[in-house]
Amino acid sequence: MRIEISEELCCSAGMCTLTAPEVFDQDDADGTVVLLDPEPPAALHPAVREAAHRCPCTAITVHENG
């Protein structure tokens, strides 16, 4: 799995940080998504998929086959 984020689309709702804190963080100044791990281990994949689904701004793209 490979993750792409769009800082432009991000609206800083924080859902990714809540759902998969090992993979996503928020910038302290403006809350924009910070990608901690673009290729997370398999154990985190369900949480990453959930985070992408919960993102209100479609700022997270998950490529399942890397």
């Binding site: 609206c11 800083s12 709702a13 924080g14 940080t17 809540l18 928020q26 910038d27 302290d28 100044a29 403006d30 809350g31 924009t32 959930e50 689904h53 919960r54 209100p56 701004c57 479609t58």
Partner: protein, 398 residues
């Protein structure tokens, strides 16, 4: 997929908590149906979960106030809708919306909200002390549900808590469907000039609060812009959370098995709060959006200029998304509801609201093991006639 006769939207719920049966029936036919708006505009009503997400995430649907039509009869908005003033960002599109939102989101990140948790918990304990001083029975809405978010948002914004009677009153009138246009205009003007005065005072002498930060910050915001932002944050910051705390408590008292499960295992509170947000969906008539061009949604053509209203309450009960959607089940997995909306306008204060709700419910149940209604449930006044659903008062005993 057009219904024979366009429906008119009602905010009166069934059996305390359920969206009107008419709206549920519509959803069984199609996730988007024709709806007659209060001024005669023929638009659309979205009742399906995935359709709601699609519309709210689509930039071809505009949030601009002047493009919209009023979904429910309300004396005060039947006039032609004006363009939103600068800073009233819930009614702006990109790029204005993002410009304002970016200046604010840093204040509402998950991490910043977690840092506030202990302070919020102290506020909650003090409110429970106050209820004990008053003695059983007491009105949980006034002394707990309304007091907590009011204390929190006034402190964050730098609005004097002592002025609460004034802004509570103005916000109530502004939110009421039944108030006359004169009263709503007066309340809007009164709250606006109160906040404008506050902004001027903070520009002269900035404090250590969010509004002062906006005034002196890099956004170079005008007094008018900061006043509009203060208006949004103050009203949204107390009214919605107060009603969600009040109605959540009422819902738990009406579902003794759910209440017992939460009492037995307080670690369920996170899921319980999400489920209560889904189940109650207190925003009566959800976000409205105007199509900027012809858009096809689920095989239905929405023409440019037509307005779409999302019923968050209906979408959050969509059986295609939730198993047994009509049940309140605090152990439900990953609610992922739309109670805070969806898309770029999704609630800015949602992480703050979550902390107030989780900490509030946890402390309330811990302090009062015998919490119960002090009047029959039918006598609890419900806010069918306000923009945000909830209880007017919640007399409880313990």
């Amino acid at each position: 997929m057009t219904a024979a006769r366009p429906m008119t939207f009602t905010t009166v719920r069934e059996g305390f908590f359920n969206p009107p049966a008419e709206i549920r029936k519509l959803r069984e036919t199609a996730p988007i149906s024709r709806m007659a708006f209060a001024d005669g505009h023929l638009g659309w009503l979205v009742t399906g979960y995935s359709t709601a997400r699609a519309v709210l995430a689509d930039s071809r649907f505009s949030a601009r106030g002047e493009l919209k039509h009023p979904p429910v009869p309300r004396s005060a908005v039947l006039e032609e809708a004006p363009a939103a003033p600068p800073g009233m960002f819930i009614q702006h599109d990109a790029p204005e919306h993002q410009r304002y939102r970016k200046l604010l989101v840093g204040q509402f990140t998950v991490r910043r909200m977690r840092l506030l948790t202990e302070w919020i918990e102290r506020i909650i304990e003090e409110r429970l002390d106050e209820m004990e001083r008053i003695g059983s029975p007491a009105d949980l809405f006034e002394h707990f549900a309304l007091a907590i978010p009011t204390l929190v948002i006034t402190e964050l914004l730098g609005v004097p808590y002592e002025d609460r009677a004034k802004f509570h009153h103005d916000a109530e009138v502004w939110s009421s469907f039944g108030a006359s246009i004169e009263d709503v205009t007066a309340a809007f003007g009164s709250l606006g000039s109160y906040l404008h005065g506050l902004v001027l005072a903070k520009r002269a002498e900035p404090g250590d609060d969010l509004l002062s930060g906006l005034i002196t910050g890099e956004g170079n915001l005008t007094d008018e812009e900061v006043t509009s932002i203060a208006f949004l944050l103050l009203v949204a910051g107390h009214e919605t959370t107060a009603n969600q705390i009040g109605l959540s408590t009422f819902a738990l008292l009406n579902h003794p098995e759910q209440l017992a499960a939460l009492r037995a295992d307080p670690s369920l509170v996170e899921g319980a709060v999400e489920e209560l947000l889904r189940y109650l969906s207190i925003v009566h008539h959800g976000p409205t959006r105007a199509a900027l061009e012809d858009v096809e949604i689920d095989g239905t053509l929405v023409k440019a200029g037509e307005v779409v209203m999302i019923s968050l309450a209906a979408a959050n009960r969509d059986p295609e998304r939730y198993t047994d959607p009509e049940d309140l089940d605090i152990t439900r997995e990953m609610a992922n509801h739309l109670a805070f909306g969806h898309g770029v306008h999704q609630c800015l204060g949602q992480q703050l609201a979550r902390i107030e709700l989780r900490s509030g419910l946890t402390a309330l149940l811990r302090r009062f093991p015998g919490l119960r209604l002090a009047v029959p449930a039918e006598e609890v006044g419900l806010r069918h006639d306000m923009q945000v659903y909830g209880v007017y008062r919640l007399p409880v005993a313990w």
